[in-house]
């Protein structure tokens, strides 16, 4: 193809991609066009052409920086929130949980507060209030909320204990000093049996995927997202396809991984993890893939 035609068609492509929001594709075509123009010796308006293209690229860079930093759960309009409630929740509790899952914590919090009046939902509402406070405010806020309930009689001792059992391990993990006061219920000392319920599963958030920022190897400095295939408490199992084995080459059992992003349906948080096991799958359809077990250390 004639070089000026070639340049024209690259610019045409770049323009279409840009108009469709395909910013990386647009940038590539602009750069390719720019490269061709630079090589032509005698071109009258060479400099102004190159300048114009550079400006376009700059504009794209600005725009992609903006979309790149867009919040993963922006505050929605009331109408949008209503829709989410109705689409993803059957009863009032589920509706409020849906709001929290889509990151609409402020309104979710207000709805959970209202649900405290409802005997049937009270305990779940209480736990979710703690959950929202942990996601948006601080540990102190969550603790203050617990303390307040502790001094009132909104919850029964059994319910309050269930909330404590949910919150305490989270505080422990973050190294929060003072333990929460333990509620004392109506004592039934007739039989003196001591029995503590196992901690509820939900104390650890469901983690759907994690992002690892590599500190060495070919992926150095890049964050790669992995799906979590299985979770049991703070142990996450990932299946890494054999084609991607290069990525985890430098990860060995016992290695700490700093700066891990954890993505869960209700929140996103950073922490560290340690490689518990790394095994090659020997048989079945996933033969040759790797199974990586990571233990969440701090989150």
């Amino acid at each position: 193809m004639n070089i000026s035609l070639k340049i024209k068609s690259l610019l045409n492509e770049a323009e279409v991609y840009r108009s469709q929001g395909l910013l990386n594709e647009a940038r590539e075509k602009y750069q390719a066009a720019s490269g061709l123009i630079t090589k032509i010796d005698k071109l009258k308006n060479k400099d102004s052409l190159l300048r114009a293209i550079a400006e376009k690229i700059q504009f794209i860079d600005k725009k992609s920086a903006k979309t790149g930093t867009a919040p993963s759960s922006p505050e929605l309009s009331e109408k949008g929130q209503d829709l989410i409630k109705n689409l993803f929740g059957e009863n009032d509790l589920e509706k409020a949980v849906a709001l929290a899952k889509f990151g609409q914590f402020e309104r979710a919090l207000a709805e959970f507060q209202a649900l405290l009046k409802n005997e049937a939902y009270r305990l779940e509402a209480g736990k979710n209030i703690i959950r929202c406070k942990l996601a948006t405010a601080s540990l102190d806020d969550a603790v203050a909320q617990y303390q307040q309930w502790f001094s009132q009689d909104l919850f029964s001792a059994v319910q309050l204990e269930s909330i404590r059992v949910y919150l305490q391990p989270i505080l422990d993990k973050k190294g929060f000093g003072t333990p929460l006061p333990v509620p004392v219920g109506e004592k039934d000392d007739a039989d003196g049996i001591e029995f503590s319920m196992p901690e509820p599963e939900e104390e650890m958030l469901d983690i759907t995927s994690i992002g690892i920022t590599f500190t060495n190897g070919t992926h150095k400095g890049k964050m790669v997202e992995f799906d979590v295939n299985f979770q049991s408490g703070d142990m996450l199992s990932l299946i890494v396809a054999k084609n991607d084995r290069g990525m985890i080459e430098d990860l060995n059992e016992g290695d700490d991984i700093e700066d891990v992003q954890f993505y869960s349906p209700i929140a996103m948080f950073k922490g560290t993890a340690v490689v518990a096991t790394k095994t090659a799958i020997q048989s079945g359809p996933k033969q040759g893939d790797f199974c990586l077990d990571l233990k969440i250390l701090t989150a």
């Binding site: 045409n12 991609y17 929001g21 590539e28 899952k101 997202e225 869960s264 349906p265």
Partner: protein
């Protein structure tokens, strides 16, 4: 999961438009909203923020009227394409009854199509569904751009990339012009209703 009310003879089912970012999912819904006024039973709601058309999802309710004695309502959704919204994608996909996979015909988006289809398969699997069994239609969108000299993949190429194993119905389309949008939707609704009929046997 479709909501099926045997007493009232009502079905409400969920169809999701899936595909990579910017392939034209929202544009499909916009065209449906404009062109099937009689069947649209409410507003099209796009849950998004400024600067980005699909942070979360779009939603459009439709009513198909009585089919074999049953009142059929459909909720159409789109999912956000970008990698970082994977948890929203999963949420929207929950309980899906039928899927339109919108693929971008642009040559430069070839790999993104394949990754998105793989992502769909993985997400369905988490809900215990197989991509081979769920009602699914492929749409090869943006065919109009060939006239503007933009490199597109041939539909044969796209069939090979995306539909070699699935072997589901596929349609070429230009969502901005509306071409192919209606047939895609109709095919998907047909497949979806057939599969619901097999499950619930409402039509006697």
């Amino acid at each position: 999961m479709a909501i099926f009310n045997l007493k009232k003879k009502e079905i409400e089912c969920k169809v999701v438009f899936y595909g990579p970012g910017r392939c034209g999912k929202t544009t499909n819904l916009e065209y449906i909203f404009k062109s099937y006024k009689k069947q649209i039973t409410g507003e099209m709601v796009s849950i998004n923020t400024e600067g980005d058309r699909t942070l979360f999802f779009d939603f459009l309710p439709m009513g198909l009227g009585k089919i074999k004695g049953c009142d059929v309502r459909v909720q159409l959704y789109t999912v956000p394409g970008q990698v970082k919204y994977s948890s929203t994608r999963k949420l929207v996909l929950r309980g899906v009854d039928g899927i339109v996979f919108v693929a971008d015909s642009l040559e430069v988006r070839r790999e993104k199509n394949m990754l998105s289809l793989k992502d769909l398969q993985a997400n369905l699997k988490e809900y215990g569904k197989s991509i081979f069994k769920v009602p699914l239609i492929l749409q090869y969108n943006k065919r109009d751009l060939a006239d503007e000299g933009i490199p597109l993949m041939s539909t044969e190429q796209m069939e090979k990339d995306l539909n070699r194993q699935l072997k589901v119905p596929s349609f070429a389309a230009s969502a901005v012009k509306g071409a192919g949008v209606g047939v895609t939707l109709k095919a998907c609704l047909m497949e979806t209703l057939k599969s619901l009929q097999r499950e619930f046997k409402w039509a006697e």
